[in-house]
């Protein structure tokens, strides 16, 4: 197979080509670097490219596979990680000037597990500063990360480089983090898939915190099965993260071909669809009906406490980081933050302890809402972003926040983009973003499939059935040129 094709096959297929020696790890790695060299200057998805180390690892993998020491389907697969994951011997900047010289000397648990499985680390990816601020490469000043489907469009955040790099075929898959949608929003805008697992499913050791009680790490990829494979590797107990679950890790690929006959899909009556543009809302409902034709049932569910979501998310996602970042502020580094984080840290000063405690209390009620709904259905479908990718200049902090016309009225994009993903963070349920259509301007539209706590297997089962019934995942952003 010509190297030019291997960057677009699934990770599972690439693994087969490596195992059967039709492609070598070095050839595969070089194919990705060729994409990065050609298009990353436009997309700006990497902060650090680890060319020499990656090629050395690829040569080692080639020798191991040749010697019959095959580690499994990730052996020789090139990946990249958001620059919030510590990696041994490299800079870990969190997208901030404050950490632009921050050399880390250990691997985050998720990174260590991927390396052990044989993955090749191509580099560290751009992100919103500390997973909440503006998207600027702190080493070059280049901003922002561009959407491979249209370079004038936003990738959203905070795992911006992860979304863009996967969509642009700069790597087979990437790791991101999600505290209020930071895996699902870039996945939705970029037409790829991304899993925010159950809270506590994946260790955050070595991942710089944003908001401890909401943070998750998870995989982003082009295909559902690749994502399930990656989660199976990075999930599981880790004594280094107190919140990491000790529950056994199931085989997330076990039900990928089981279909959806008899499964029950819920569509929320309230909260999501009236705050989405019509094209998105129609695409998500149509996705549910596509699976209805394959044997699933579709019904409405009620999640009454979600009306408190945005306030609760703000109280926590601004309040907890201020506690973390106060050390840097006291050190006189406030002016080094990007404009968005400066505004957010200053806003956090006006959030009261009562607001924060009420936000944590209301989460219990949201959990109960989801648990009650999951007595009636197995998964819940909702928009992941609610809108198509906004323009990059609309991400900049100005006096006027851009709005979109939705059934609920003229709503700011801030509200829409906090509203859609945050319920899954507050309730701790798994939520998987995937493409469900394209807008009139040719941009991907995203939905999320939410499941019961620790039932990612069912979420992947439904996602795989939908992927198999549709063609959205086969489209590639040709704006960059055919791979």
């Amino acid at each position: 197979m010509a190297a030019v094709d291997v960057v677009n096959v699934s990770m599972i297929e690439a693994g087969r080509l490596l195992r059967t020696k039709q492609v070598s790890p070095v050839e595969l790695t070089q194919a990705y670097f060729s994409r990065i060299d050609s298009y990353n200057p436009k997309v700006n998805a990497f902060i650090t490219v680890l060319r020499e180390e990656a090629l050395a690892t690829a040569r080692e993998a080639e020798k191991e596979i040749a010697a019959g020491k095959y580690r499994g389907p990730l052996h020789g697969i090139p990946i990249a990680v958001k620059d919030i994951f510590a990696t041994n011997g490299h800079l870990t900047t969190c997208g901030s000037k404050i950490l632009k010289d921050n050399m880390t000397h250990y691997d985050a648990t998720a990174v260590a597990r991927l390396r052990k499985a044989g993955c090749i680390l191509l580099g560290k990816l751009t992100m919103s500063e500390f997973a909440l601020g503006d998207d600027v490469n702190p080493l070059t000043g280049q901003r922002p990360t561009r959407n491979p489907w249209n370079l004038e469009r936003s990738v959203s955040g905070s795992s911006s480089g992860s979304g863009a790099a996967v969509a642009a075929s700069f790597c087979a898959a990437a790791l991101g983090t999600d505290t209020g949608g930071s895996i699902r929003l870039p996945a939705g805008y970029c037409g790829i898939v991304g899993m925010k697992p159950t809270y506590g499913r994946v260790s955050r050791y070595g991942v710089t915190p944003l908001a401890w009680s909401l943070d998750n790490a998870g995989p982003m990829s082009k295909f559902v099965e690749d994502n399930a494979l990656l989660l199976g590797v990075i999930a599981g107990a880790d004594a280094a993260d107190d919140m990491c679950s000790t529950r056994p890790v199931p085989d997330y690929r076990a039900k990928l071909r089981a279909g959806v006959k008899g499964l029950r899909i819920g569509l929320p009556k309230n909260y999501f669809f009236e705050y989405s543009t019509a094209d998105v809302a129609d695409a998500v409902r149509e996705a549910a009906h596509t699976l209805e034709k394959l044997g699933a049932t579709v019904s409405e569910v009620d999640l009454p406490h979600l009306k408190y979501t945005v306030g609760a998310e703000m109280a926590i996602i601004f309040g907890e980081p201020l506690a973390y970042h106060s050390k840097y502020i006291r050190q006189g580094k406030f002016d080094l933050y990007t404009d968005l984080n400066k505004a957010q840290w200053d806003t956090a000063r006006y959030i009261s302890s009562e607001d924060y405690i009420q936000a944590q209390r209301v989460r219990r009620y949201m959990v109960r809402d989801f648990e009650k709904a999951y007595q009636q259905v197995d998964v819940i479908f909702a928009p992941s972003n609610g809108i198509e990718a906004n323009l990059v200049q609309e991400d900049l902090l100005t006096d006027t926040v851009p709005v979109r016309q939705v059934p609920a009225g003229s709503i700011t994009i801030w509200e829409i983009l906090w509203r859609m993903p945050s319920p899954a963070n507050l309730a701790g349920v798994p939520a998987f973003a995937m493409p469900c259509g394209f807008s009139a301007s040719g941009l991907p539209l995203g939905m999320q499939i939410m499941g019961r706590h620790f039932e990612e297997t069912t979420v992947y089962q439904v996602a795989a059935a939908y992927e198999g019934a549709t063609e959205w995942h086969k489209r590639r952003p040709e704006f960059l040129g055919k791979a």
């Binding site: 009680s213 306030g311 601004f318 400066k342 200053d346 936000a359 209390r361 989460r363």
Partner: protein, 58 residues
């Protein structure tokens, strides 16, 4: 939300904000306060001893 009131209130957190910082964060503050107002309507009809997020028995 007069700027001077916001500056005075910020002093309580140990660092009074400059007029420039107040101006820069005002859209974010207004957005946040709008949604905190909704959160402040949360009034559960039962005593809930748990204030820390948890689920299941894990």
């Amino acid at each position: 939300m007069a700027d001077q009131n916001l500056i005075r209130a910020s002093a309580l957190s140990g660092e009074p904000l400059s007029a420039e910082r107040v101006r820069a964060m005002k859209p974010m503050l207004e957005f946040t306060l709008k949604h905190l107002e909704v959160l402040r309507e949360f009034d559960p009809d039962e005593e809930e001893p748990t204030t820390i997020f948890r689920f299941g028995r894990d």
